[in-house]
């Protein structure tokens, strides 16, 4: 065996240590599963062996399935061309069920097996331990135990949906599985998932003690008279688990996430039958799920691509590693304050500059608030707070920027103000320091003309609130150098965010595409579609906030301001629509600015929930013929997707991973789709173009397919094939 070592002590207890060569973490690859089968055989066959302890030789116990390997299997559609659909399905089932069968063999091997969990055990890793008879875990708070599959569109396929509810009850198990929540050892013990927590160096000793002194080799669910804690799906007291659970799940997911739905069914159906049948049911749903585009797209974007981007997939080769130790932040408003916080948390010395000391101090206070909150929740110690705060210097003095490796400008979106602070900072910092602008609307190349060193000028676009949003959009100006890009990416990695790299354009990639979603809502409104229908359709697409509410949040006068600015910039090319007129009317004539003045598309009563402003009905006559909600959903999704496709043609984005991950992490584009580009590939470029032609005919040229799309549709190409990032790299 190459993945496991196997030593039997004088008491006849085998210590099996999982330690995969050439890997930082143990994963459930095909080869480790084959070897698990091998050592189970040895444990059963060798009568000198009384029991076994399974532990890991790495810092983590096991990180779960090898999703890369799994994606490979999923995309390699079939074996031989002659295989019937039924045979293919059966083969898929056999593959999925093999792991369940293996773990069932483990727990029924007749000898006590203990998991000595020395580090993180996630997904399949935790499932292996659940098939052991006793679980002892090291008392390290950082150890995470959980079944995170649902987060990437999967379900635990190694018995997790069967053993966890049988162990701790359905009501306790379901939220953990549905939300993919992980627990630290203390919480896992409290929940009943692990039996004992002991100091890390004693886990094996405790495991051996249990085998010698207790050593019950039968799982609770294999004992006579076993009942699921809290009862099965139809027992008194637990009906609500599903009646309410089903409703809550639909309420929260809009039926867009098959994984969660199937998890419910696995638990509901599986907990009414013996565990063997339950494991078969789980494997069937697992196969069904893998056949759906949602799981494939979610694994790719939410796991594989985001991980690749996080590890520096877009970093130019040959540039030396850099490390930002000191940085300057210009503008201590909400964005600047957030940037200072995340940077100081990463150990970077921050000079936070504003026009007056009071404003600068206020920017630092933001960090104080966040740190106090973390402390009150027991997530941070007081010393750490002091240490972080000591790194932030609020000031009005540009001289203090001396020695900075990086400047991030986050002042008001006004070219003159930006030019002014750029000049002031560049007068102090080294020529090699990178100057980043956190603009979300103004093209970088234009801003760079006011810089004395445009090669070191770059866009570093954070999302609000900075401490929560995981994405940073890096924008290359015309003259931005590879070295400036590499340094910026190194910084983003240091603050533990995921970067995407795009080229310059109005609104860059994320703001530009996201804008189309809110604008489409206004278009619909101006067509006389019921506001409630528009808003519900928006929610049902899986976007986090419906379009009219979103307009209110960012404020209508801002939309009006951008509209006016764009009109000035574009002149005759600007497309006046009923939508732009509607915004003008709301802002200029009616003074309805959005949430900030308590009246926008919604009314905001001080004593209750917001509701759609009834006056909208007088502003636009409601059409007698209301469209189907599916048509509206399609408009929202396709409108954003076609903008993303245009960004590809214009080379604003050049990497499918940037496009998809950026959309999901940046503006909350419906995660179950895998992103707008995955959406187009899933629909198929041919069908997508046909649909867009139809939509353009009906609703306007904003839906018209671009040349690239038409060409791809003709050739039957997908984005992930044509712009395959792995092929490019090779």
């Amino acid at each position: 065996m190459e993945n496991f070592s196997f030593d039997v002590d004088s008491d006849g207890i085998a210590l099996i240590t999982w330690d995969m060569p050439d890997r930082t973490m143990n994963v459930l690859s095909a080869s480790s599963m084959a070897e698990i089968r091998e050592w189970i055989g040895t444990v059963i066959g060798d009568e000198k062996i009384k029991g076994a302890v399974l532990t890991s030789g790495k810092a983590a116990f096991c990180a779960g399935a090898d999703l890369g390997e799994m994606e490979g299997n999923a995309s390699e559609a079939g074996g031989g061309g002659e295989e019937s659909a039924e045979d293919k399905t059966r083969r898929a089932f056999d593959n999925a069920y093999a792991f369940n069968k293996l773990l069932r063999e483990l727990e029924t091997c007749g000898k006590p097996i203990v998991a000595a969990i020395n580090g993180l055990a996630m997904g399949g890793g935790l499932e292996v331990t659940l098939a052991c008879h006793y679980r002892v875990v090291a008392d390290n708070d950082r150890i995470q135990l959980g079944l995170p599959e649902a987060k990437v569109g999967l379900l635990p396929g190694g018995g997790g949906t069967q053993r966890l509810p049988r162990l701790i009850g359905m009501a306790g198990a379901l939220p953990l599985i549905l939300e993919g929540k992980s627990l630290n050892p203390a919480k896992a013990q409290k929940a009943g998932i692990v039996h004992k927590v002991v100091p890390g160096d004693q886990i094996v000793a405790e495991a051996k003690r249990w085998i010698k002194e207790e050593g019950d080799a039968q799982q609770p669910w294999d004992k006579k008279g076993y009942k699921i804690p809290g009862g099965g799906p139809h027992d008194k007291g637990s009906q609500g688990t599903f009646v309410v659970g089903n409703a809550m799940l639909r309420a929260n997911t809009y039926g867009n996430y098959p994984a969660q739905r199937f998890i419910m069914s696995c638990v509901y159906e599986g907990c009414q039958v013996p565990i063997e049948a339950g494991l078969r049911i789980e494997s069937r749903y697992f196969v069904k799920l893998l056949g759906m585009p949602e799981s494939k797209n979610m694994i790719r974007s939410l796991f594989l691509s985001s991980q690749e981007l996080g590890k520096g997939a877009r970093r130019p080769q040959g540039e030396p590693e850099s490390d930002v130790k000191k940085m300057g932040i210009l503008g201590a408003g909400m964005m600047g304050a957030g940037i200072a916080y995340v940077s100081a948390m990463a150990g970077i010395e921050c000079v936070l500059i504003d026009r007056d000391q009071e404003s600068a101090d206020k920017g630092k206070d933001y960090s104080v608030k966040l740190l106090d909150k973390a402390i009150s929740r027991g997530k941070m110690k007081e010393e750490k707070k002091e240490q972080v705060l000591s790194l932030i210097t609020p000031t009005t003095d540009y001289e203090q920027l001396k020695g900075s490796d990086l400047i991030v400008e986050a002042v008001f979106e006004d070219r003159d103000i930006k030019a002014d602070v750029t000049a002031k900072a560049e007068a102090v910092i080294a020529d090699t320091a990178v100057f980043g602008s956190n603009t979300s609307t103004l093209p970088i190349t234009g801003l760079a003309t006011k810089s004395s060193r445009p090669d070191n000028f770059i866009g570093i676009h954070y999302f609000s609130p900075v401490d929560k949003m995981p994405l940073v959009e890096i924008i290359m100006g015309e003259k931005t150098s590879a070295s400036a890009l590499a340094k910026s990416l190194d910084y983003v990695k240091k603050i533990r965010k995921t970067p995407i790299v795009v080229n310059d354009s109005r609104g860059f990639y994320t703001s530009r595409c996201f804008g189309t979603y809110v604008q489409e809502g206004i278009h619909m409104l101006s067509e006389g579609i019921k506001p409630a229908l528009i808003e519900n359709a928006g929610k049902m697409t899986g976007m986090p906030v419906p379009p009219l509410a979103m307009n209110d949040e960012v404020s209508l006068d801002l939309a009006y301001h951008v509209q006016k600015q764009t009109k000035e910039d574009l002149g005759d090319k600007f497309e006046e629509t009923p939508g732009t007129q509607l915004i003008e009317k709301m802002v200029v004539d009616l003074g309805r600015l959005g949430r900030k003045n308590g009246k926008g598309f919604y009314e905001y009563p001080s004593d209750g929930k917001k509701f759609i402003w009834p006056g909208l009905g007088d502003l636009v006559e409601e059409s007698a013929d209301q469209p189907d909600v599916d048509e509206l959903k399609k408009r929202f999704m396709y409108r954003q997707a076609i903008e993303a496709a245009r960004c590809f043609e214009e080379e604003v984005v050049t990497d499918v991973r940037d496009a998809d991950v950026g959309a999901i992490m940046g503006w909350g584009f419906a995660p179950y789709t895998g992103g707008p580009i995955s959406l187009i590939d899933t629909v198929g470029t041919k069908r997508f173009v046909e649909e867009c032609d139809r939509l353009a005919q009906k609703y306007g040229p904003r839906f018209a397919p671009n040349a690239l799309l038409r060409e791809m549709a003709e050739k039957g190409e997908t984005f992930y094939a044509r712009f395959n990032p792995h092929k490019q790299a090779a």
């Binding site: 799906p233 139809h234 009906q239 599903f242 009646v243 309410v244 659970g245 089903n246 409703a247 809550m248 799940l249 639909r250 309420a251 929260n252 809009y254 039926g255 739905r261 419910m264 069914s265 509901y268 019921k530 506001p531 409630a532 229908l533 808003e535 519900n536 359709a537 049902m540 929930k609 509701f611 759609i612 209301q626 909600v629």
Partner: protein
Amino acid sequence: MAEAYIYDHVRTPRGKGKASGSLHEVTPIELGTQVLEALRDRNELDTSKVDDVVFGCVSPVGEQGGDITRIAVLNADYAETTAGVQINRFCASGLEATNMAAAKVMSGEADMTIGGGIESMSRVPMGSDGGPWASNPEAAFKTYFTPQGIGADLIATKHGFSRDDVDAYAIESQKRAANAWEKGYFKNSIVPVKDQIGLTLLDHDEHMRPDTTMQSLGSLDPSFSVLGETAGFDAVALQRYPEVEAINHVHHAGNSSGIVDGSAGILLGNKEVGEAAGLKPRARIRAMASIGSEPSIMLTGPEFVAQKCLNRAGMTKDDIDLWELNEAFASVVMRFMQAHDLDHEKVNVNGGAIAMGHPLGATGAMILGTVLDELERRDQKTAMALLCVGAGMGTATIIERV
């Protein structure tokens, strides 16, 4: 095909469906037994002529389980040859049972049958039988399962009935029921429930509140807002009806059907069996229908089943003298009248379940009997009885006096 005639019908009074209700101490089969005894004794029936008894029962578990109809038949000392079957079409079970009993006669399977139903909601609470709809994740997801009260509130929201509108309807139901009781319109069909030593336990519908006012109703909190808002059901319903911004929760105990105990039976037969037994037919079954409708809003079936039933009878709504639609919730009846443009003066003229209660398995037979009595009293000819049904259905019957 044979004609199916109604020869007689009886019902128990409706007892409050809780431990303090007068019928709580009576077993469910005893309720059915006394109905069967009354039909036999009033008509001096040779029960060996009764081929089959079909009773509806919606929670057929525990002491209502295991084909309660057959056990009630035996308990009522009917001939051993009289068969019995229990069926379940949720709220329309009593009418569906009557339709099936009539269909047996029409098809020639039987000469004489009894349709009806039993429900002791105080002893076997609603929902005791479980079922897959709400709990099975696949089924619940596919159909946007929402509890019926939220469907009723959604109907009110969608079709513009305010809290005042539904409350006003409820008060009218109370007034009409009180008036009918006072004037003895139900007298001929009520079989008082007797105890073990033959003393009367209940001889009137005890759920009624004739003194109900807009003010007294106004003080009641809506029944389904907490459930709708905290358990996700409102959101589920809005995903099915996205044109609605928010559900206006208007229903409460005072404008919804009451939870009660009771039983009813309708004696049916072909022409010959009636003549041989010396019975006089009171009405014939003119048409029957059931239909499925959108399950999430659940309670809009009456609108569609009424049209279907009219079509099967070759009639139009103007041919119907009286309508009897179960008052599951005020909005159900209001929407029905709105959809078919009906005059309230022809609908539920003696009140309904909001005042008198809705013993799930029996109600359909009760309202069919009630409307027949009223046709006779008014000397009118044709009536339709119908109910909205769980999971999105409707069941209807048209009768015609002979």
